[in-house]
Amino acid sequence: MTATLAKENVIGRPIDRIDGRRKVAGAAPYPSDFDLPGQVHAALVSSTIAAGRITRIDRSKAEAAPGVLRVLTYDNAPTLTDPPQNALGSTMRRPLRDDRILHYGQHIGIVVANTRAQAVAAARLVEIEYAEEEPVLDIDDPRAAVEDNPFGMASSRGDVPAALAAADVTVDGTYTIGAEANSPMGLFTTVASWQGGRLVVHDTTQAPSFLRVALAVMFEVPEENVRVLIPFLGGGFGAGLRLWSHTVLTTLAARVLDRPVKLVLSRPQMFHSVGHRAASRQRVQLGADRDGRLTAIDHDAIAANGLGDHLPSPIVAVTPSTYACDNVATHERRAHLNIPFTGFMRAPGAIEAHFALESALDELADQTGVDPVELRLRNYAEVHPVSGKPWSSKALRDCLEVGSERFGWPGRDPAPRSTHDGDQLVGQGMASATFEFYALPCTVRLVVDRRGNATVRTAGTDIGTGTYTITAQLTAELLGIDVDQVRVVIGDTDQPPAPQSGGSGLAGALGAAIQDAASELADQLARLDGHPGESFASLLDRHGLDELEVTGYSDLAGAATHADVAPAGAFAAAFAEVGVDEDLGLIRVRRLVSVIDGGRVFNAKTARSQAIGGAVMGIGMAMLEELAYDPNTGRVANGTFGDYLVPVNRDVPDLDITFVGEPDTFNPTGSKGLGEIGIVSIAPAIANAVYHATGRRIRDLPITLDKML
């Protein structure tokens, strides 16, 4: 065991998850697995209207029900401080603030009882009367309050109107995407307990460090008195990136009762309590010359937001950096509606933008007769189109070329409706994409003991993507030890602060911090006069030390602002083949090839799993998923997995997934984030394939069978 970079090729190896055995054995505690001594159970009271005011609340029946300990509603609950804004944008309106109802299913009370069943039953006994108003549910509703996206999405370079007017060829398309539920398998849970002035909360959060700050502010306690624990999370996809009201209410109930309180959301509640991908409408206008070279892009988007909520989740932010084009303008608005709060959902904004852009590119290919792959190569951004700086890495060309080859794209007959197979029309489509990672500052603590074993500690969590495993791999390689000599302690805010697991940024931020810690360790070893090849044991022995502790830090977002390269996100290209039974409107994906440039891949197996998951979710987005709101009440009308459809195995063909590219030159560990890129190009590739199969351009997701009739 040496203190230099001896163990090579640990990074990248497709090793099994180091937490895999615990997970399959049921030994990995998810939030809902935590039970504390003396714990009682909570259930939520939810509004059954979408807009208006509460005029009367009668808690008496609920309070008298068996086992009930407390019923809290806005008129009898202690007042909380408003949560602060954080790096991910505004936090939501705090619960129980007043009598206003902003959406159906709004949490307007919490009932605590000895058992969960008692709490659930009593929650139904809280009598509420409302003064109901007509809800505004649709972005096209003229009554909707519309504002420019407050996070400044308007951008412009060149002269778009002039370029559009002068273009040989133009495309003008409007693209709509239905709201998509984010309802991960693990039911979101909060187990809160106050121990004196100290709060310990197990919560399904992807951003433990943010949650800690928010709870500290809301409950007016010092940050160090709040401990958030989330060692294992049963699926996040962005749903766990915001502060949600059930977490606050459970924490409040625990404080009021001075007992540990546990709340597990029901499946239907998951559909309106933890955010969703906002419904959106986009208009893309392209101008190009006869050879398909882009001369203008105008991208306008409007997306739904909850009332009183301001989630950035920008759609058009990515547009200026996609293609080499001199004239680009973007605009984005928000329509505030009586809908449950929106959230982040895998590749938020970018995926919407790419559906519109990549569909429009396909229309341009069709009009100019330029092959869709060639069209993207002709408009390839060799340098960052906004800053003009060289990319820190970009292998999108490889994505396109390798994908084209693996799929067998060359030789495809470009004419729509050119291929039949029995009752099916067969079509092939493709799309490319980029997804920029978002990495906030990260701190890790690294301890090495006499046996050469290392422990890495940080607050960030593993949402199932493999953070435990790649942390161990990175540490093992950098320290020259074996993976099983590394202990990873994460998901605990008593550890050093870390960014959210989201925005494809954690692996990069964490990796850079671990690398920083490793070089700090190397410095210490040098100071301790370590000989090359000397074991930690011998070194520590010589100095009479039990262990060495170092801290590592990274701030990639900060570094990005003064980098002389343009920090690149991941890139991808997807190629899809669909069969369409036109008579019955049935679409089936027959083949899917996805090629990804994610920079350096830390673990080929977990990376592939992310790409697979992205592809499956992309199929769902393209063909199945849409949250439906009852037009009269604003109630989520399909809030169960029997009604809200996600793909099953049979909807997913064999997936051909390949990684290309080189280690990124900006990010110290060379990675670019893999959690989201895998979904971004899937839906447009499928929609383009549907066009090629049938000659029908569906600009509205999901492409359910009724839209094909």
Binding site: S46, T48, A65, P66, A117, Q118, V120, A121, A122, R124, P268, D423, D583, L584, G585, L586, R588, M623, L624, A628, Y629, D630, P631, N632, T633, R635, A637, N638, G639, T640, G642, D643, L645, P647, V648, N649, R650, D651, T704, L705, D706, L709
Partner: protein, 327 residues
């Protein structure tokens, strides 16, 4: 919170008595419908579950040209039965296209006939207006999100769909249901077992309280007949039918001499397409005939914006299955 009593019936007699004596008691077979409604959705409020799961009402016997299926036979067991495979292939297809393997291993044939609608307005206790749950309260689905809803048999009081796949070929084949209560047994044709909602959507069939379904009898296909079941849905499996059709026909010298047609995904009850059958029998097995049959089958639909597309889709589903079984 109300407690629900759970009793496992030791024999048929006590099962009947345990339900008959309490107007709020229900039979519990596989539980895949009942437990969802009572425990998860909490839209039905039984006082007692009488578990009939261990009664000796399981298995399939052949009686000449009929099959007699005991009510507690599971969907998987019936699908695996050799006679069903050979002589009622579309029953097998309908079974295997339904639910999931796990559910089919629990779900019984009797329970499948009596499964409740998937209407999400019916299944959500926070929805006030549901004539099926609360007669006279109205129907929220009519102005709501209605995609998995009925267009045949439906009316202003209720558009809830009977979502069974199995019942489509059964109703086409003139299956009969054997019922038992303290007064004895009776046999009811499946085509007369269900009721359209009318002004009483809460009454779905002719079953009396405490009456047990003991068997389902299904005539086998005549020699030379061919059958098929087509289920149309967005998701390739584990989804209820958007539309479906089960057809059985005999064609002699290009002419259809015998035809049975049932429809799913469109009716408030498993739908027998009588009018279509009369168009088919005696007519040439041609596209024109199939289309005429489809038009006859979907006459006077009751649609709402969400279900309007089903009118054409159901017709195309019929045409496709007829083409398949005659080619």
């Amino acid at each position: 919170m109300t407690d629900i009593e759970y009793v496992r019936a030791a024999d048929q007699g006590s099962a009947l008595a345990l339900v008959a004596e309490d107007p709020d008691a229900v039979f519990l077979a596989g539980g895949t419908t009942e437990l969802d409604l009572a425990l998860k959705d909490q839209v039905v409020h039984p006082s007692r579950f009488v578990d009939i799961g261990r009664l000796p009402l399981r298995g399939v016997t052949r009686d000449g040209d009929r099959l007699r299926v005991a009510a507690l036979t599971t969907m998987e067991e019936l699908a695996a039965d050799p006679t069903v495979r050979e002589r009622l292939p579309f029953v097998r297809e309908a079974l295997l296209l339904g639910a999931s393997t796990q559910l089919r291993n629990m779900a019984t044939i009797g329970g499948n006939l009596l499964q409740r609608t998937r209407c999400r307005y019916f299944r959500d206790p926070d929805v006030g207006a549901c004539n099926k749950r609360d007669p006279g309260s109205g129907c929220a689905a009519i102005e709501g999100v209605a995609r998995m809803h009925a267009i045949l048999g439906a009316g202003p009081s209720c558009i809830a769909l009977h979502a069974s796949d199995l019942c489509v070929p059964l109703v086409a084949m003139d299956a009969e249901v054997e019922l038992l209560d303290a007064d004895g047994t009776r046999t009811v044709p499946l085509t007369e077992f269900y009721r359209t909602p009318g002004d009483r959507p809460d009454v779905e069939n002719v079953l009396r309280h405490g009456e047990l379904v003991t068997h389902v009898q299904v005539p086998l296909l005549p020699d030379g007949a061919r059958s098929g079941y087509l289920k149309v849905r967005d998701r390739t499996s584990y989804e209820f039918a958007t539309t479906s059709a089960g057809a059985a026909v005999t064609v002699e010298d290009g002419t259809i001499t015998w035809a049975k047609l049932g429809l799913g995904g469109v009716g408030t009850m498993p739908w027998r397409a009588w009018e279509a059958e009369s168009v088919l029998v005696g007519a040439p097995a041609s596209e024109r005939t199939f289309r005429a049959a489809a038009e006859a089958a979907i006459r006077d639909p009751f649609t709402v914006p969400g279900t309007a597309f089903k009118v054409e889709l159901a017709k195309r589903t019929i045409v496709r299955i007829l083409r398949t079984v005659t080619s």
